[in-house]
Amino acid sequence: MRKLFIPNDTSAVAMGSNLVANRFEELIKNKSLDIQIIRNGSRGMFWLEPLVEFESDFKRFGFQSVDLSEVESILEFICDDSFDAALNKHPKFLGETESIEYFKKQQRLSFFRSGLGDPLCIDHYSSLEGFTGLKKALEMQPQQIVDEVKNSGLRGRGGAAFPTGIKWQTVLDTAHSKKYIVCNADEGDSGTFADRLLMESDPYQLIEGMIIAGLAVNANQGYIYLRSEYPFAHATLNTAISRCYAEGILGQNVLGKKICFELEVRLGAGAYICGEETSLLESLEGKRGLVRSKPPLPAIEGLFGCPTVVNNVLTLGAISTILCKGSDYYKNYGTGRSRGTLPVQLSGNIKRGGLIEIPFGISLREIVEDFGGGTFSGNPVKAIQVGGPLGAFVDRDKWDTPMDYEAFSAINSMIGHGGIVVFDDQINMFDQARFAMEFCAIESCGKCTPCRIGSTRGLEVLDKISSKKDVEDNLILLEELCDTMEHSSLCAMGGMTPFPVKSAVELYKEDFT
């Protein structure tokens, strides 16, 4: 039997993969062909979606951007017994999927399973080293697990890049009868989708990482706080969790051991600030998502006052790899104090947008030009925003900066969750600065004045600038306001909104005057 792979994740479906799958199914049935359709996850090369693959000689060959009208000709191709990849002339034929430069140049640790098979098939996951890390962790003492994580050099992937092992140590050391593992799946930063892809294309990796986290700190309840903007991930996670319960991977006896770990998905309700960890905990408790002042750290007093690990999806996913392959293996990737790989998410006005997992240290230019292939429109790149809505626009002469946490903070920028949004020369940077302020005004939790009032004042000042009222004076006012927000806001929402605003004014003054 031949196998045909048709991706099934938010972006592939949004690009039409369900329609394509239905058409294939219909034709295969009508012609009584011996072909099995597997709905795999996505490889993350979203510009190629729907990327239909078939297997031949244990290799996978792809067809890009498959259209309904091409389904029949593709079927003819793959049924041709004299199939020879070298001679294949189908206009959408890509050759061997893993030989595509974009894919070949990546180093996939977190995403190596993504797109290979049915994301919800536990056997498939297990056949690709799935649950190996968990099995090892079940034989280890909590402190040994925490030490492995410390040694890996893993830093939180949610934005703040805090060393994960140190956070876990605090939770382990805090004695309490109840502790929690909370996965931050709020992925609020625009231009980011790595968490989503991992949850939709390799959900067991996250579940495994959370159980290991529970073993490491003696917690037996986990929550995944998922943004409500991700209905597909929601359905996938719920199915994955219920299958894990059915297989004894979750529940009272994890893999037959006297270890309990319960896991549940909780939906956010459309508030960006609930990605901030303390606001998230308030929200999980059923309250308004007001940011808490720290201390106490969530690691000491988190959910319902109990010691709580809050980690991003990618952080917890990486735990499975670290335990499976060993911390030294993981540490080997990367540069300086940024260890492991960075899943970059390239989007916006870009020819080849998608997920690019690479070791830290590659330059922004290589990502945008080599991987991305320039803008979608073909116009010159005007601006690049890195690190989500609170990230700065990066100056043209800084595009060679290596992507690592320290190098980016040295240029007053941040990698954050790894989102890179590209704009072509049709964009007006005043509009972008205004949007950054507006977003802060809409999404501020309202707890502190510089953010709540500052963002609204900022909008007013920007509107004066756009109507050409005392432009120079108002630009000075804007800068002062930004300084106040930056220095006296409680969290990064108010504290970093000035970054995109100020960098837009600085780098693209002509759009403001």
């Binding site: 510009w47 625009s190 903007e229 956010g268 508030a271 059923g286 309250k287 308004r288 989007s347 977003f439």
Partner: protein, 165 residues
């Protein structure tokens, strides 16, 4: 809008299904939204009493989160992503077009109560922007004419449903 007795029974069921959870309020409100497509005013004191909260606390939560609506909205939720990756691919023009073609502003429903239009801040489909969500389906690379097509498909599906029921 007031709640009649049937509704009260349904609300009681929803609350009962969630009452044993830790921090049940958001799950309850999501379930109420799914059933009534808004959080009826009369539901608030009932939820509050059963969850041992004050009505003010429940109202405070309802008003904090964008997903919870105090008024009934159109049957289908149409969301246009306004975030950066979508802006870079023309979501601003799409937004203007959508408002004009549906004759509503963000936060409003069409006259026939079929469509509720609102902004959204990222759907995770940023590599294939601009993105639009219609109920639980997400659409990629949506142009103004593509948007009109999605809406007319939505209308014709509803039209058929209405005729067949």
């Amino acid at each position: 809008m007031g709640l009649n007795l049937d509704y009260k029974a349904e609300l009681d069921n929803i609350i009962r299904d969630h009452i044993d959870m830790e921090g049940p309020l958001l799950p309850v409100l999501h379930a109420v939204m799914a059933r009534f497509s808004h959080i009826p005013k009369d539901a608030i004191p009932i939820i509050a009493r059963k969850l041992n909260l004050s009505s003010a606390e429940v109202s405070g939560v309802v008003s904090f989160y964008h997903d919870f609506k105090k008024e009934k909205v159109g049957r289908h939720k149409v969301q246009i992503c306004r975030s950066e990756a979508c802006q870079a691919m023309g979501s601003r023009e799409l937004e203007v077009h959508a408002k004009k073609s549906l004759k509503v502003d963000f936060g409003e429903s069409t006259n026939d109560d079929l469509i509720f239009l609102e902004p959204v801040y990222c759907l995770g489909n940023c590599a294939c922007s601009p993105s639009v969500r219609i109920d639980d389906e997400i659409h990629a690379r949506v142009t103004p004419s593509g948007f009109d097509k999605l809406i007319s498909d939505l209308r014709s599906v509803n039209h058929h449903k209405a005729r067949n029921s």
